[in-house]
Amino acid sequence: MRNFFRSLLAKYMLLIVIAISLVQIASITIGLFVYGFAENVENRYLKEGIDTETIEERWHEDASHLEQISEEVIQQHFAKWKEDFPEATMFWVDGSGILREKIGSNHDIPTEWSARETASFIKSRYDGDPFTVIALMEESDGFIVFEIPREALQLPMQSVYDHYGDILIIGLLSIVLLFIIVSFLFFHRIRKRLLHLQEAMEIRDVDGLPLAIPVKKKDEIGQLEQTFNQMVDELRKSKQREQEEERLRKELIANLSHDLRTPLTKLRAQSYSISKMDQGAEWNKAIQQLEVSIKDMDRLIENLMSYTLLTASKYQIKRKEIDIVRYVREHLATWYPVFEKEGFEINIDLQPLDSSYWEVDPVWISRIIDNVLQNILRHTKEGKYVEVKTKTTETYDALLFNDKGDGIDKGSDYSGAGIGLSIIDMMVQGLNLDWEIHSSNNGTTVKIIKYHKK
């Protein structure tokens, strides 16, 4: 229940209830006001049951009772009526059209009455304001007129409307306007908070995760924020777990590789010691075989480790823009003596590429080149030829590695090449490059390709 009162729904319902109450209160206030007005502005004519009809009737009746018309009689008659109707104006026009007597506040009455003036007076007063009654007397006596502002005979409500109508309409409009403004502000605030929330949700921490949002209110939006924070928290924990797992995995692989290499080093130490005891050609050949196996083993462990990390996408990658031709040339400088020692014919021809700057991780590039060259070194003892070239075409730049071995599919001599090639494949893809390998009886070509940006 407490939560309900904190909710936006409750707030809006409160708003509506207040608005409806306000209208009701306004109506009641107007009612009371009118009632009070009626009390104050007592309309005694209506109270006494006097309306236009009774006035008309009585005026005619009184006029017919008047005898021996003289100014005095008329004055008495007017005075009597004036007592009853203080707001009224009365006047007498005699048979010859002269204004003989007048009582009341209306001064706008002609002193001489022609037929035309009389007709226009009647016409203007018919159903008009003030309410006018004309009573004809004997021909020579003319007529007497009674007029009273209609206002004096009106209902109080009408008077209220006449007096305060504008204020009432403005008041009602203000209430409606107030309701609209308050509603607008209410929704505007909700909208603002939602937009704020959206913005806050889009902010990312240095680790790429969203940040927690400060929860200020406990309404629906507040609950949403809370849930979002919960999610962020879970996400962060999950990321931490993932990083921890990643770390453990890397550590495990690194340790495993270390633990495998240590006995291998001892093996190398023993074989080296034995190799120094020169015991003839057979002996030396066996030692050489042992050496080769140790090297192979070392390479396999290295590849296995890289492969495991690469397949789990855990191999560290740090891209930067490098001059690839220069980088490859410097890297080949370290390989040159190795091929030289094995008696290879070496042909290096690196020309500037269409775009020599590649956005790659140099460690990865070295690793790719190492794997390609290791394969050539190990598997093409027959051809003893290695060639590294650059090639630029309309669609791509490429590095070419050629050998004159008897092809990659031939013989078991290529055992262990598979994982090396898989590593090349994964790394090339990881660097957004492409590669091709063509192998025949006459040799193998490995092409590392970078397509031009379209």
Binding site: A254, H258, L264, T265, Y272, A333, V363
Partner: protein
């Protein structure tokens, strides 16, 4: 005699490496942990450190060593081959050799570093030349006369001697000597190499001291 400090906890490997390096004419001090490392700092010319050690690991030892004696070259010798480990090691160490290694390879790397840090008082014999690297004196053995090099030729030859047996690209040479980045097609370096060859080669048109490695660069090999 070159004095090498070697820290390795594995007895078998430690014994093998110490024996081999002693046979190669170095004085070896082999420790099984880094505990007493500091007391040797003044007397050693080079340090070889394993990474996985009891107590402080090789990385921590190496960093300390480099801080207190920046002129002693360090070789990390480890069975940890991950890229991260190599990078971590090479932040302070001068070389990173992975196990299993061939003793010839280790010896070669030691020589490179000793030369680079000028901790050798050896006399180099390259073809018909006799070179005293410390004061860069070059004697032509054919006539026992000293060859005098000037300015850039001197720097160029010194650079080659410091990077003996390494192939250097045009970019590396130019940037190493002129201290500016190399612009493709610049002939300055070629001109200076020609002058240098005219002074030191027996037959400058068939150079033997400064080899041209086609497609890569140049090399002075012992």
């Amino acid at each position: 005699m070159v004095h090498i400090l070697y820290i390795e906890d594995d007895k078998e490997i430690g014994h093998w490496v110490s024996t081999d390096l002693t046979e190669r004419g170095y004085k070896i001090t082999w420790l099984q942990s880094g505990e007493n490392m500091e007391s040797y700092l003044t007397s050693i010319d080079l340090a070889i450190l394993d990474v996985m050690l009891p107590g402080l690991d090789g990385f921590s030892l190496g960093k300390r060593l480099k801080k207190s004696a920046p002129d002693i070259p360090i070789i990390m010798l480890s069975a940890r081959t991950a890229v991260e480990d190599r990078l971590e090691g090479l932040r302070f160490a001068d070389d990173y050799v992975t196990k299993p290694f061939h003793p010839d390879e280790l010896a070669a790397r030691i020589e490179v570093l000793l030369r680079r840090f000028q901790r050798h008082d050896e006399v180099l014999e390259i073809k018909h030349l006799q070179i005293y690297p410390k004061d860069m004196r070059i004697i032509n053995k054919n006539n026992e006369e000293e060859i005098l090099l000037t300015g850039k030729q001197y720097h160029l030859f010194q650079y080659f001697i410091r990077h003996l047996n390494q192939i250097l690209t045009k970019e590396q040479l130019y940037e190493g000597i002129w201290g500016e980045s190399y612009i493709e097609g610049d002939k300055t370096l070629m001109v200076h190499i020609r002058y240098l060859r005219e002074k030191i080669e027996e037959n400058p048109s068939v150079p033997t001291v400064i080899e041209t490695i086609r497609g890569i660069g140049y090399r002075v090999k012992q």
